[in-house]
Symmetry: none
Subunit: 129 residues, 4 copies
């Protein structure tokens, strides 16, 4: 499914949160799809089940998944317009990154160009699903 870097300073559970969050954002894990069971994933990654559980708990807390007791954990569908707080945080981060690129000497045109490369075409603007 993905790989962990056990040498990283980042705690394993944090890496898990980030990886799974990415899979959700990139639409690899679809809305309402079930996540691997804690013990299964723990077996595959050969890490402690408690660590998986901590990651799932954190993802639930951040609003990316929901858990049904006795059933498992599932991807929570994004509700457009209901995440103004998160969006504001993202804009702050984006502002910081853009500022740092300017500070490092990247021209405004360059920045726009690089961002456009990461966006889907204007016509339709479909994501891969």
């Amino acid at each position: 499914m993905f790989e962990l870097d056990l040498r990283s300073r980042a705690p394993v559970y944090e890496q898990l949160v980030e990886k799974i969050k990415e899979l959700i954002i990139y639409n690899v894990l679809k809305p309402d799809q079930q996540l691997p069971a804690v013990r299964v994933l723990a077996g595959e990654l050969t890490i402690n089940p408690n660590t998986i559980q901590k990651a799932y708990r954190e993802l639930e807390h951040r609003g990316y998944i929901y858990s049904v007791p006795g059933k498992g954990s599932f991807v929570k569908p994004a509700v457009p317009g209901n995440n103004t707080a998160r969006l504001r945080a993202l804009e702050d981060e984006l502002a910081k990154i853009v500022s740092e690129m300017l500070y490092l000497g990247v021209t405004p045109q360059e920045i726009i160009t690089r961002i456009k490369m990461q966006l889907p075409e204007d016509e339709g603007g479909k994501r891969d699903d």
Copy 2:
């Protein structure tokens, strides 16, 4: 100068690093400008001088400031074109943020518009110095 969140999970010295880095990137602290003395800043923020020093040393390692023993700590002028590694990291972060904004329902046009608002105008677009 700025505020710290002593209850945050992030270490105090890391918060310091981030805050000061922002002040440098946003050009509030100009190149070669002297930073507050270790003991002075420690007094203002009511934290231990060692913590300030740890932050300053970290900033020095990351290339944002330089410290001269007996003289003080100063903002290091950026050297354009000498930070390819940092730029690659920034692009990765940027890609992740853009993806998450798309995931949350922001349209590509919106994203471009908001970024352009943060860029200086092409004609005479100097930053505040």
Copy 3:
């Protein structure tokens, strides 16, 4: 493991950095081998654990080791071809040393001979691992 000179002008943590770096370079400490725990080494050398940690962090910054919180500190395998800056610095040092040897009356042949003695043989010249 090694000895420190507490009366030296060089800070204790710097001496530690140099000694450990040597052990890594001379392949006494092998890649991914675990270093002594901070508290253990502090006990053996009868110096403060914070001083050890400062040395370890410095070694991490310089790319010789990596530390995983809760796990320990380990020797970082060298990545050939990714250290042009360090290599340039080494060549400068080398030039200075060679010049001083010439100044002190050592002949060029002597210098070459002594260096060759330190190099592994071309055929089967493996270092001790």
Copy 4:
């Protein structure tokens, strides 16, 4: 005569010692040649005369210059065969550098080649004087 980096972490007097030592080693300052007077050099470099004096004292201590009270400081001629201690130290440094180059992936042939480039021709082996 030369330049100092007032932004460097290295103390000014240490930089002076290194620079002057280099000038002697590279034979720019010839044996028994008089060094600039303390106050003159202090004026040229716009630093404190005490700093110059400290550097001169250090150079005298290390055997590179000698001072005649009331006359000034002069370059001390090197006496071949009378510096075994210094030579041993240089060989240690050289061994360390060679080891680090090997560690960083430079081949033995490369190392020999680079050192030979810094040596005068075998025939005669004259230095620029």
